[in-house]
Symmetry: D2
Subunit: 242 residues, 4 copies
Amino acid sequence: MSTVQPIRVTVWGEFRHEKNNPKVAAIYPQGMHQTIADALGRCAGFSVRTATLDEPEHGLSDAVLDQTDVLTWWGHLAHDEVADAVVAKVRRRVLEGMGLIVLHSAHYSKIFLSLMGDTCSLSWREASDKERLWVVCPSHPIVRGLGPFIELPTEEMYGEPFGIPTPDELIFISWFTGGEVFRSGATWRRGNGRIFYFRPGHETYPTYHHPEIQQVIANAVAWAHSGLRIKDDAPNVSPQKP
Amino acid sequence: MSTVQPIRVTVWGEFRHEKNNPKVAAIYPQGMHQTIADALGRCAGFSVRTATLDEPEHGLSDAVLDQTDVLTWWGHLAHDEVADAVVAKVRRRVLEGMGLIVLHSAHYSKIFLSLMGDTCSLSWREASDKERLWVVCPSHPIVRGLGPFIELPTEEMYGEPFGIPTPDELIFISWFTGGEVFRSGATWRRGNGRIFYFRPGHETYPTYHHPEIQQVIANAVAWAHSGLRIKDDAPNVSPQKP
Amino acid sequence: MSTVQPIRVTVWGEFRHEKNNPKVAAIYPQGMHQTIADALGRCAGFSVRTATLDEPEHGLSDAVLDQTDVLTWWGHLAHDEVADAVVAKVRRRVLEGMGLIVLHSAHYSKIFLSLMGDTCSLSWREASDKERLWVVCPSHPIVRGLGPFIELPTEEMYGEPFGIPTPDELIFISWFTGGEVFRSGATWRRGNGRIFYFRPGHETYPTYHHPEIQQVIANAVAWAHSGLRIKDDAPNVSPQKP
Amino acid sequence: MSTVQPIRVTVWGEFRHEKNNPKVAAIYPQGMHQTIADALGRCAGFSVRTATLDEPEHGLSDAVLDQTDVLTWWGHLAHDEVADAVVAKVRRRVLEGMGLIVLHSAHYSKIFLSLMGDTCSLSWREASDKERLWVVCPSHPIVRGLGPFIELPTEEMYGEPFGIPTPDELIFISWFTGGEVFRSGATWRRGNGRIFYFRPGHETYPTYHHPEIQQVIANAVAWAHSGLRIKDDAPNVSPQKP
């Protein structure tokens, strides 16, 4: 009998493109979040739920967050509709130790901006570039099981300069047909929380069905799980006894 | 005839303790900001002005910020009284390339929190500890002219863990009589802006009259001056020509 | 039936002080390496052996290194007696993925110098200072189970500036009675290998009998175990197919 | 009358390809080192000399190094012919504060390997790829005067993973026609010395005649000049007076 607890993952999705754009709905009939959740659910050791923008509290009640070890986040059109109070709650949890996986266009989400303190800007193009994600840190647990690169036949392009603080660890750099490069996988520590940004995932391409993309997200969830939840504090302390 | 432009520095002070606490007023009759500004004004190559909380727009109008290369910031009791709109303006300027020197209790200022994305928490004690600031990066321009450490006979204590992102460069570590240590001088890059946090400066001690503390702040202003002001942008770009 | 393999640890010790200095022999009758090995051996999941300078090949034959996942290293007086060929072999293994825990005076070991590429110099004093090691990265697996600091009643002092490359992660900062500070726990990645430097451990004090010091070393061994062994290569590669 | 001293630059070149390969000689009749030196010599504020492998002491006598603020280094075929004693001298100077600019195939030079402590390996191809070097840190002094990228119509390809320690600052990432990416400009601090690695410069292409490549090298020389020469030391120090 095992006493190891599963890692509790909440997969958050904006879930608007899938309802408004037939092309996206055809690729992700239940939503991108459901595709990601299904992939993570097939991994041993994860207990997965989903949450979306149009649910009450965006699906992120205190009860849900209390039972979330790692949160994944995909948003695009509706960053501004995410309530500041929910962002503040999520931010506090990350600083206490909850893991956060930030996907694709969520580089401009309120939660990522608030944790990076930077512009998070980039250049971009929707033109069916091929993307090659090169592994630059082959010993990192996030790339376990991969070869030297992942190739996606068509993706939106994101280009440098990417307005981020120097990553603690740079994991992937992307190459695009059209001539650009991008730091497409990177980690940061904020408070006790571990954050991983992962670039691919434009809604009109089947990226989240790709087995290696699913592998990276699963690896990242396992890596981001700290098992910690330490309240922020600024104690007034006594000197040592002489 | 020299064509070198002076570095335009704005020294921002909360300027409340000095009006409300006779002990502080005795040390800084014109305010801490004025003491800092006077010290910087004696350096060749700086053009210095001051700004304080209770001025309109906290003294930080667009016109002032347009003419500020480096901003220094001291606040303590009234962080919450700084208008969000002013914080947003200052943040934007830092990301465009304005330098920012964050002093002592401004670790909890809105502007520092928004650029760090972290708790910025620490432990603390007001008990007249002696502080020794050790230079850990002797080749950095911020420590030019110093010996191996700066000693302050009495200061407030700040202790680890300090809730900050991994600094780009760690410059000083402090030792306190009561048994604590602290990363008391550190740099980060955000956007095109350079940020330096410098710990000492509790209002009831004459820290900003100390020649070596003045030297560090002057060195930091020179270091933080980028000469850049690049607007944030997220361009939609074309692929290279085949 | 478990299929998890134990982590194979080799504890390397210079083992000279213990034979030449009765004071040291009284504290570590079987040698410091044996005290460390015994402590690690009591942890579930470790398989531990020892190796010392005066054995053939310093106890580090290819057969031993082939079966070593993580190597710990303590040396002091006899760094120069370690054969360059052995250093080269150990270095290659670290770059392939073997973990390395560098203890105390091994800051000046050939292996640490060759992996850091820096002076690794520091200031020092043998005067029975008290040492307090403050945890500055509370979420790191290396500090699991610790409180805010470890206190050692007497230790040799090491002081800043410590001539090391900027650590990937700074874990501990030490405070000493005599007025110094030191980055006493830090990590670096070299090739596929993870390296942890841990300061305490002067031979005339019972530091390696201290339960929290043992805990840190055990945590560090678990953290440094990559499970990887990737040969260095510089392949001549073909372009992608058009 | 100005009292500013010029920055004294020594441009070191292996100078073998130019003598053995007519194709290289046609591009660099006086050697690559001379082309680089000429470019630097046209910048205000630099005093430039050259040194090459086949001179006595490889042209790097104590007298020359005593008068060198920044050293640039290009080598390829004959890394092993560089005397260890000269490497040790150069290494010591870098740690004392001399700047070092490492060019192209010198990623495998003894001096770079000894300062990085890593494999410095990479994948490669000679196939006339186009190279685009993207600026990822637009505010860095090394990219002053550049646009968003530098384009070289033909260059040797270097690909990730590049076996280097995490750079202090990542300045350029390269894109190659054939599908690869590379961290092609990066900085590290070792001791008091600043090091910049810059990828382009295969001997069969006119890369060092390119004005923007010359600009980067000139910027890097200015950036790497510390003005410091601090002897390495490990002092035995006294505690503070009680």
